[in-house]
């Protein structure tokens, strides 16, 4: 869902959902030999896990631009980083039954709109950044007495890895898929901890977002009567909505695993210019690298970033308390209540719709809705949702409750803002007077690291001016004056502090907390997240939600419609309701419609939802885009190199029939927010029929190789010979003398509960040699491959997934004690009612 600030909010309100991961690390002996982690041993976390799901884009993206070391210099180095990271994650979880690796495939249209907005923004920023970079090098050269350090030159020449290639349809994704297959087969051959593990890889050729392919898998297994209802699931990924998806499975044992967002960063960062530690880019003298030790174990001293568990089971415990409404005229069903809560969370933020103006996660928007829900549940006659479908009459009641509070929320928000601004001013004055710096330049109460020296990041990640349209002066020129200003008072750090955005480290942290979208797989590099805009003139917000007539101004200025056109507002609200229904269905049943999208840049007000109970919502599966169509839909012209050349003119030539989809420049509307990245990129929406018509004309001109990358692929399953019964079953069916059909329904009693069907791979023979697919042969090939690869298909069902516990599900031992429960109840008494009741 990419719920902004969701992790932070959730862990504040429900503290026990988080616990640290206990991790065994490889042991380095005195002679330099490394003893790898032995995952056949019991899990140091005190519990064993069955299935590990990797939302792989959450590994690929961080590996393409690591925070604590230089970016990989080429694809091979990048793959090795990915193997290393994946290995670490697998070693933490030690899945005993299954590893499912899911890479984002083509996305539903609703998601593409968000991807498009991010990529266009990122391209716009990159353009400005490049100019800035050149400027910086000039400064360094000057600093260095007119000589450019050789390693800096090398680094300058190097093209940074373009994260836009992490999209289905690119050659990079092919290499990634091939490399992962090799690596998993290699692990199955060499790591005894993998011997009994089945590995399923759903690469970018299989449509769907990674985490949703994982959810499809979990639902497909739940639909099998052989699924163990007490399966221990772990999903690795960066999105906050994995917690919501975890809840949506109704599996009692579900955890999310991720890096600790709140871990203190910035301690061991490296210079962005020469890649060495110990100094920042501005201090870079380009000196020869000093060896860290005899063998230059460069990462030896580097503490790895710790991981945390997010226990969905504990969140279920909290919600069971929070959502329990006494005296209902119908049976209280905690599973249904949880679904309603997940639905309401999607009002506050998701990847597919702009959030309602009145609902901000940081203003406890979820609590506001939960309170309305609790008040209304007895009269609603039932739950808001049922297995992924919304009861629109009941949804109307919830929205009515919100509408009553809407104005009060806007006014209160304004009052809080004014108070905060006044406070900041006062503190700044105090600080200046006292000549000290308390490091309070943070915004929105996010704790900041102590002030740091100026970094390269600080400069090149400079935010576009708040009013992007007005920023017509050259970015480089703007930067120049900034740098000159800095150089002039190099030693007075306070001055730099107050003039510039927070350090790169703090900035990144803030962005992870404030907007998980920034680190969402499939999004741009985190480097692209600009720091907060400073010196915003509040008078720029001409809608002024806190003043009478705001709705008229909103529709006039944002939608450019006559303020008297009330029917238009209802139309927007109906589209939004459709969106809410789409999102809910997507979470609970899988993508309901691949073509649906919300056709506006802005959300309506709660008060605009009228008579939604009369709506009839129908979704049809729709057409799934092909990889090149998605690329054409989301990439700006500047990133056209990720597409076959044949398509480039469509994005660049003035006579292209779809050139209007690729504006060079576009406005970013801050929409009342403070940060540019929170603003709305005002891009034209893709008209798919036109785009398809244009693309189809080019298809016959594609090379066979390129055309192959535009096709739909299948999941594969890998397993070791040591997984004997299952291996023998498949081998005897596919490869023995009396081989049968090339399809085999898995026997769950032999596959440790896995249901589905496997199919023979064309041109594949077992016991062949396993070739390392990359150039430099950084890893060995295996002569006699003792793993087996087959196609894998999820078991099919025509029935909707039900939000229920399965028979035999054992409730986990409670984590919350009485005082936790009392504390939560205490919070409930004081929350959600602050706007005058529902």
């Amino acid at each position: 869902m990419g719920i902004p600030a969701a992790f932070r909010w959730l862990s504040n309100k429900y503290p026990k959902i988080i616990s640290p991961v206990i991790e065994d690390k490889p042991i380095v002996m005195d002679d330099g030999t490394v003893i790898p982690v032995d995952i056949t041993r019991t899990n140091p976390n005190g519990e064993e896990f069955d299935n590990l799901y990797l939302d792989m884009n959450g590994i690929v993206h961080p590996c393409s631009h690591p925070e604590d070391k230089p970016a990989p210099k080429d694809e091979e180095e990048m793959m090795l980083e990915i193997f290393k990271y994946t290995d670490r994650v697998v070693n933490m979880v030690r899945p005993r039954k299954l590893l499912l690796i899911a890479i984002d495939g083509v996305a539903p249209r609703a998601k593409m709109n968000q991807q498009r907005s991010r990529r266009f923004r990122s391209a716009k920023e990159a353009k400005e950044k490049e100019a800035d970079k050149q400027e910086l090098y000039k400064m360094i050269k000057k600093q260095n007495g007119g000589v450019m350090p050789p390693e800096t030159l090398e680094s300058m020449a190097k093209q940074a890895f373009d994260s836009n290639t992490i999209t289905p349809g690119t050659p990079f994704m092919d290499i990634l898929a091939g490399s992962l297959r090799y690596w998993c087969a290699y692990k199955l051959n060499t790591d005894p901890g993998w011997a009994k593990m089945k590995v399923i890889i759903s690469d970018a050729t299989v449509p769907g977002e990674g985490e949703h392919k994982i959810m499809d898998f979990v639902r497909s297994q739940r639909a099998s009567a052989d699924h163990d209802p007490n399966t221990r699931h772990v999903i690795y990924g960066l999105d906050a909505d994995l917690i919501m998806l975890g809840l949506a499975t109704h599996e009692p044992y579900f955890r999310v695993l991720r890096e600790d967002v709140f871990f203190q960063e910035g301690k061991a960062r490296t210079c962005k210019l020469c890649g060495q530690k110990g100094h920042e880019a501005t201090q870079c003298r380009g000196e020869a690298k000093e060896k860290d030790g005899e063998f230059d174990e460069k990462d030896k001293a580097m503490p790895l970033k710790p991981f945390i568990w997010l226990h969905v089971s504990v969140l279920r415990e909290y919600l069971a308390v929070e959502l329990d409404v006494p005296g209902l005229p119908f049976r209280f069903d905690v599973e249904r209540a949880i679904d309603d809560w997940v639905f309401m969370c999607s009002f506050v933020g998701n990847d597919f719709l702009p959030h309602l103006p009145a609902l901000e996660i940081r203003e406890n928007g979820i609590d506001t809705l939960t309170a309305i829900w609790r008040d209304n549940l007895p009269v609603m006659g039932g739950y808001l949702t049922k297995d992924g479908s919304v009861d629109l009459d009941r949804a109307q009641l919830i929205l009515n409750g919100l509408a009553k509070q809407e104005e009060a929320i806007f006014r209160r928000r304004r009052a809080t803002e004014e108070r905060r601004e006044a406070g900041q001013k006062r503190r700044k004055l105090n600080d200046e007077r006292n000549g000290r710096n308390n490091g309070r330049n943070g915004n929105n109460g996010v704790p900041m690291d102590p002030p740091q020296a100026l970094t390269h990041d600080m400069i090149i990640n400079r935010t576009p001016a708040p009013d992007a349209n007005a920023a017509n002066k050259s970015a480089a020129a703007a930067l120049k004056s900034q740098i000159q200003g800095l150089m002039a008072k190099e030693s007075t750090q306070e001055a730099a502090e107050s003039e510039t955005p927070p350090s790169g480290a703090s900035k990144r942290k803030a962005s992870m907390i404030e907007d998980d979208g920034a680190s969402t797989p499939g999004s741009e590099s985190q480097v692209a997240t600009p720091p907060p805009v400073v010196n915003v003139d509040p008078s720029e917000d001409t809608v002024k939600l806190w003043e009478d007539g705001y709705a008229d101004r909103y529709y006039e200025q944002k939608f450019h419609v006559d303020p008297k056109d009330i029917e238009f507002r209802h139309k927007v609200a109906r589209a939004y309701v459709e969106g809410l229904a789409w999102v809910l269905r997507y979470y609970f049943q899988g993508c309901p419609d691949w073509e649906w999208f919300y056709p506006y840049h802005y959300a309506p007000f709660a008060q605009d939802f009228v008579d939604i109970g009369k709506m009839k919502i129908n979704f049809e599966k729709g057409r799934i885009s092909k990889p090149f169509e998605q690329l054409l839909s989301v990439q700006p012209a500047a990133s056209r190199h990720v597409l076959p050349e044949i398509f480039h003119p469509l994005m660049t030539e003035p006579e292209s029939e779809i050139i209007d989809f690729y504006p060079e420049d576009f406005a970013i509307d801050l929409n009342g927010k403070k940060m540019a990245w929170q603003g709305v990129a005002l891009l034209p929406f893709i008209e798919m029929p036109r785009l398809l018509a244009a693309a189809e004309k080019k298809y016959p001109l594609l090379s066979t190789e390129d055309a192959a990358r535009n096709n739909v692929g299948k999941e594969v399953m890998l397993l070791s010979e040591a997984n004997q019964e299952l291996y023998d079953d498949i081998i005897s069916q596919f490869y023995s003398k009396k081989q049968g059909s090339p399809e085999l329904k898995l026997n769950p009693r032999v596959s440790q509960g896995l249901s589905g069907q496997v199919k023979k791979l064309d041109d594949y023979l077992p016991h062949g040699s396993l070739e390392y697919p990359l150039e430099r042969k950084a890893m060995p090939s295996v002569d006699d491959d003792r793993s087996l690869t087959v196609h894998y298909e999820f078991p099919q069902t025509n029935h909707a997934h039900k939000s229920m516990l399965l028979r035999g599900a054992q409730p986990p031992t409670p984590t919350l004690n009485r005082s936790d429960i009392e504390e939560l109840k205490g919070k409930l008494r004081h929350s959600g009612r602050s706007h005058g009741g529902a």
Binding site: A225, R331, D387, N747, P748, H799, K802, M804, R807
Partner: protein, 369 residues
């Protein structure tokens, strides 16, 4: 008349005789009209019921099977015949009967209040001119229908008397209502298809379903004690997961039972005794899991407990239960059946009888061939 002494039971103590794990070889179903069909059309799946449900609800609409007619072994024999035809060979069992008959025999050492009467017929099944060798013979055993009817009538009378003695403070339920509770519990706890293939509406409205005991799924298994091979037929209530793909692999059946809430030591002792019956019944068909629905005195479902069949003898031993012993049940039945094969050595109809409170089982011929 031949007699088999039950006492002294101590002679059946010690390790259990070898038991052949029950394997389903065939199955049949009675539909909603109690009509016979080969196959598993009436098989059901277990999904837990809603606690707090009133087990008496719908008693007035109970669609009860009329059990006054003697159904003999007909359905079992039809199923075996079809199975033999499919396999192209005869089954190798020496005893063919309903599971209930062997249950009565197995529980004999620890149950002396009730008696039983069964009829047995010997058939020579294999073409052999040699002497009657009991390896080539099958004894078909069924309950003596008249005796069963009579004893059930008697039992009802006793229950009614007991209910009256219970006094005014106790809620009054007729024996018919109380036996309805068991069927109601089955209706509340089962689905006609897997959970995934059943609609939420059905699952949540099981309390509204008309309760019927006409439909049944019956499993026909091959099992054995010691040297005796048996083919048993019996109803199984529900499936836990799915029927295994491999023939003869253990099936995760579920046996559904109701019992009064345990409120004191006497209740506990009663439940212990019931557990022996639960164990024997499930053990004989290879049912690994028993779900017990505990009900209040007013017939409200208050608790569900899942019991592993194999754990019943173990936990009974751990609790120091002296009233029964699983190995002795097996060894007694094994010894008795071995003896029975010697006694029933000729055509005709034989009677196997235990009179209430008697310490012997008598076998005698009632009809010449």
């Amino acid at each position: 008349m031949s007699k088999f002494n039950i006492q002294p039971v101590a002679r059946f103590a010690g390790d259990s005789h070898p038991v052949k794990r029950p394997k389903e070889i065939a199955c049949f179903s009675y539909d909603d009209n109690h009509e016979f069909h080969l196959g598993y059309s009436s098989m059901k799946w277990y999904y837990p019921p809603q606690l707090g449900t009133d087990l008496s609800k719908g008693f007035d609409k109970f669609d009860k099977h009329d059990d006054s007619a003697d159904e003999h072994l007909d359905s079992l024999l039809r199923t075996i015949m079809a199975h033999e035809e499919e396999e192209g060979k005869k089954i190798d069992a020496q005893i063919v009967t309903w599971r209930g008959m062997i249950t009565k025999i197995m529980s004999s050492p620890f149950e002396d209040r009730d008696g039983f009467e069964m009829n047995a017929t010997l058939y020579q099944v294999r073409d052999s001119d040699a002497d009657l060798n009991n390896k080539d013979c099958i004894s078909f055993i069924e309950e003596n229908h008249e005796y069963k009817q009579a004893s059930m009538k008697e039992q009802r009378k006793q229950q009614k008397k007991q209910a009256k003695r219970g006094g005014q403070s106790q809620p009054q339920f007729s024996p018919d209502v109380m036996s309805f509770w068991g069927y109601k519990f089955e209706t509340l706890s089962t689905l006609p298809a897997t959970w995934a293939e059943t609609s939420r509406d059905y699952i949540e409205s099981r309390d509204e379903q008309v309760v019927s005991n006409k439909a049944q799924y019956c499993s026909v298994v091959r099992t054995g004690f010691g040297k005796t091979i048996m083919c048993l037929g019996g109803e199984v209530d529900a499936l836990w997961d799915s029927k295994p793909m491999a023939h003869g692999a253990p099936i995760n059946w579920v046996e559904l039972k109701t019992s009064a809430e345990i409120r004191d030591d006497r209740g506990m002792a009663n439940f212990e005794r019931k557990l022996m019956k639960f164990w024997i019944q499930s053990f004989l068909l290879g049912v690994p899991r028993i779900i017990v629905g505990f009900r209040s005195q007013r017939g409200i479902l208050t608790k569900i407990e899942e019991i592993k069949t194999e754990s019943i003898p173990i936990t009974a031993a751990q609790r120091g239960v002296k009233t029964w012993n699983a190995n002795m049940c097996i060894n007694f039945a094994s010894g008795f059946l071995e003896w029975l094969k010697q006694v029933i050595n000729d055509d005709g109809i034989w009677r196997i009888r235990r009179q209430p409170k008697s310490q012997t089982i008598e076998v005698f011929r009632v009809e010449e061939a």
